[in-house]
């Protein structure tokens, strides 16, 4: 019974750690399925987290903070698009530039506004997303098995966690069941054919990076106004890159990406709990090994040892219209 509770707590933590990864991985997917590499997830997440915390602090409302985060990340996505789609710049370089720029800019503006060494002031309750108790959770709380699963695991998260998990089927539906999704995937595979069909490649790709911006903005806001209570310098700490790895691990598809995010989130949650714990048989597990596992697994997958991850065909190539 004690073990069961432990597992529930661990899974509960997994949901919380994987939420920002899910939103960012879906963001990456929208951009990359349309042919634009998005290494800027890390920087955009950081920008979103900062805007959300700063605006939520001034307005005392997490929703306005969320909107500010999304506005920021859409802006950054458009910048990325302006460099890569309009000016056919290198997508990897543009992504790296945005990451470095945001790492500096969030700290600089943070110091200029709040003078707290790059942090934003701690948000009080009203300015953060609060846990939601699902209907009936209190009632089944003491029922064995079902009680803890429903009360501890499923209920009691903030709204962004539920949005993230609902975003996965929504993204799948958009990607595979709508005309927009078909065209989006088509410009990522064969932009020439899409152009021939009379659909603007540039406009399509811009729409895809805007979708990407909306999603990654939410993941940033989650970090600073839902999971945490303020913005901290470089608080994303590589989460954008883990999300990127999860997207690759999920082979650029929504549901496998969700599975990868849950796996990576679980490893993250487990790593903090495994610190100093001596397991039977294995002995003490180095935390660093658990932390490196998402990257190692992604490399093994990319090497083709566990299935094959095939990127969209036109990924990374700017579209040049024939003259």
């Amino acid at each position: 019974m004690e073990n069961f509770e432990l597992v529930i707590l661990l899974l509960d933590a997994t949901l919380r750690t994987s939420t920002p990864l899910i939103l960012a991985a879906l963001a990456g997917m929208f951009s990359e399925r349309s042919g634009t590499i998005n290494l800027a997830l890390e920087g955009m997440m950081l920008g979103g987290a900062f805007s959300a915390a700063a605006v939520a602090f001034y307005m005392d409302d997490p929703w306005i903070g969320l909107l500010a985060a999304i506005a920021t990340t859409i802006g950054l996505s458009l910048l990325h698009g302006f460099a890569c789609i309009t000016h056919k710049g290198n997508q990897v370089v543009s992504g790296m530039a945005i990451n470095i720029l945001m790492s500096g800019l969030t700290a600089l503006v943070g110091i200029a506004l709040f003078a707290q060494g790059g942090k934003t002031p701690a948000l009080d309750k009203a300015a953060r997303f609060q846990p939601i108790t699902l209907p009936g959770a209190e009632a089944v709380k003491d029922v064995p098995i079902i009680g803890p699963i429903y009360f501890e695991l499923l209920s009691g998260h903030n709204i962004l966690v539920y949005i993230a998990f609902l975003a996965v089927p929504a993204a799948w539906w958009v990607m595979y069941r709508t005309r927009f999704g078909l065209r989006l995937r088509a410009v990522g595979e064969n932009p020439g054919a899409v152009d021939t069909a009379g659909i603007g490649v540039v406009a399509m790709r811009y729409r895809a990076v805007i979708c990407s911006g909306v999603l990654v903005g939410m993941s940033g806001a989650y970090l600073s106004t839902a999971q945490g209570a303020s913005f901290l310098q470089d608080m994303t700490a590589g989460k954008g890159y883990i999300a990127l790895a999860a997207m690759v691990f999920g082979k650029w598809r929504p549901f496998p990406a969700l599975a990868a995010c849950l796996l990576f989130g679980f490893l993250d949650a487990a790593a903090t709990r495994l610190q100093g714990v001596v397991l039977p048989v294995i002995g003490e597990v180095p935390v660093q090994l658990v932390q490196a596992l998402p990257y190692v697994l992604t490399v093994i997958l990319l090497a083709g040892f566990i299935g094959r991850a095939i990127p969209p065909k036109a990924l990374g190539r700017p579209y040049v219209k024939e003259r």
Partner: protein, 372 residues
Amino acid sequence: MSTTVQLPRWIDVGALPLLNLLLALVVSGLVVLAIGENPAEVVEILLYGAFGYEEAWGYTLYYTTNFIFTGLAFAVAFHCGLFNIGAEGQAYVGGLGVTLAALYLDFLPFPIMLVVGMLAAMIFGAAWAYIPAYLQARRGSHIVITTIMFNFIASSLMVYLLVNVLRPEGSMTPESEQIAENLRLPFIHDIAGALGIEMASSPLNLSFVYAIMASVMVWLFIWHTRWGYAIRTVGANAVAATYAGIEPGRFIIIAMMISGALASFMALNEIMGVQHRLLIDFTAGYGFVGIAVALMGRNHPFGIFLAALLFGMLYQGGAELSFEIPTISNDMVVVIQGLVILFTGAMEHMFRPRVTKMYTAWRLRRDAQEAV
């Protein structure tokens, strides 16, 4: 109307990058204005901090050394059509090589030890680059993603080693022991002092000379050797290279290993030159800035030297800046870096069509006049 004239070289590699750089600096100036400071004052402090006094020069060139190595590392891979984002991890692991050599081979005499330390860095750095290179060459795994992953794996590995293995007994900080005297690169001010020249002390050390030598060797290698030719051919067109009897996979691996070895030289400057021990995150982002350095320098060693000097100046001047104006932290330098990469790297083609059009119009008019 689609006739265009090829741009002359001075516009292509001179005026256009300068135009982009200027734009990046103007936008940086706007950022300074936006946070309520005076850009002119900032420029003045930056320049004074970087070149204003003798010691500053030493610091500027010390930072420049790191940027030359990481810039060259990126450039060699880039000539082969590869994006090596992994200089950070390769330099980090290279530092491990130096440290292990220092810990286990410290009985060797001074000059031999320097060579051994350098070889250890090269081998470790090249080995760390080999795995992504092999995966790209033989299994088609995209090098951008694998090198990013390898940066994180290196970071975890090094934290583990520093905390659990290399940390001396009883020490709380995750650092290695001090390396032996016979593995330390002499400071330039010491060398000058021995020759009877008075110089202000600074972290500038012998590795700056290595950096210049490495630049010349990279230039010779890329443009004047068979392997360099093969690497450029693979970079330009891998399919054509195959028909020319050059096996792309082989040269992808060679280029990446050289790139990793060059990145690892950063550890010579930091560990053998200045810190004298292995520290957590001693690479401090130099690997990433190397991308900007190489792109600004158009992947040519001379251009890389100039770009590295610019970034060295920004680093040293930026330190002075955060000292003089408290509201402007070191993060301003990070912002400028980001903007420089954005405008000179990602948006390098922004002005090209317009400049080409203007130049073409001018040429056509001139030719017409001459014809009359």
